[in-house]
């Protein structure tokens, strides 16, 4: 029997255009994203499951959900 495994996803922040507003932090259900030293948002890869809530909320649309290559 063939089993289909969904590839893992996670959020990636386009650090250069991030305005560090913290909108993503407020909506993350797993506390997997934080604003690092007021410069840009930073994803904790251990916690992020790639749900995409932060990407939808980001006013600058700089967060992308990508598949994680094994």
């Amino acid at each position: 029997m063939e089993t289909k495994t969904r590839s893992k996803r996670r959020a990636y922040v386009g650090t250069d255009s991030c305005v560090a507003c913290g909108c993503c932090v407020k909506v993350c259900p797993l506390n997997a994203i934080s604003v690092f030293r007021g410069i840009a948002a930073k994803v904790n890869p251990e916690r992020c499951v790639g749900c995409g809530k932060c990407a939808r909320e980001c006013p600058a649309s700089v967060i992308e959900i990508r598949e994680v290559r094994p």
Partner: protein, 198 residues
């Protein structure tokens, strides 16, 4: 998600705008929105104000999010470019200093008090009903009119971009946000390398 006391600061922002409609001298309270972010970024090197305490951001988030007054579209690429953000900050500062200059002229007695609120740096709105005299020099009222103009203009711009793009689109080009981010960058220079994930 658990709500904190600071999640209700949008009430403060809304009250501020309403109070300025009745008595312009309340506009002075807006200085808190200028000094607190700067103090937080200079002292702790974070954008704690934007991240937690910004009532204006919360207000846009509420109106655009829960009230559904936003199209939730991506902001145009040029609006999030560094050129636009820094350019807008510069323009905002120039306009701010011009407002301070006008205040100085009233203090110096070179000009009379003008009871108008200037919207979007051009439209002069009559606002005389909100002025009932002051115990201090008329210059203090001139500053209040000028400062309320700044706050109202930024709110109107924020509401327009909230409706067109995402609720907190204002945060992308907010001059205070840009300024505090620059302070944080200067304070944590090595941070640029650490956060780069691409």
């Amino acid at each position: 998600m658990k709500k904190h006391w600071y999640d209700y600061l949008w009430i403060f922002s809304l009250t501020y705008l309403i109070l300025g409609f009745f008595n312009i001298l309340f506009a002075w309270l807006g200085l808190l929105c200028f000094f607190i972010p700067l103090i937080i970024s200079v002292s702790s090197g974070t954008k704690g104000y934007c991240n937690r305490y910004c009532g204006r951001g919360q207000l846009f988030s509420l109106l655009g999010g829960r009230f559904g007054l936003s199209r939730r579209k991506d902001i145009p690429r040029w609006m999030k470019s560094k050129a636009f953000r820094y350019g807008f900050l510069l323009f905002f500062l120039v306009m701010f200093f011009q407002m301070l200059w006008n205040t100085y002229l009233v203090f110096a007695g070179a000009r009379d008090l003008r009871q108008v609120v200037t919207l979007l740096w051009t439209l002069k709105l009559p606002w005389h009903w909100a002025y009932h005299g002051t115990l201090f020099h008329p210059g203090t009222a001139q500053f209040a009119f000028g400062f309320y103009s700044v706050m109202l203009t930024s709110t109107v711009l924020g509401l327009i971009t909230m409706a067109l793009f995402k609720p907190r689109s204002w945060c992308v080009y907010c001059p205070m946000g840009t300024m505090t981010q620059l302070i944080c960058r200067a304070k944590n220079r090595e941070g640029d390398i650490v956060t780069d994930q691409r």
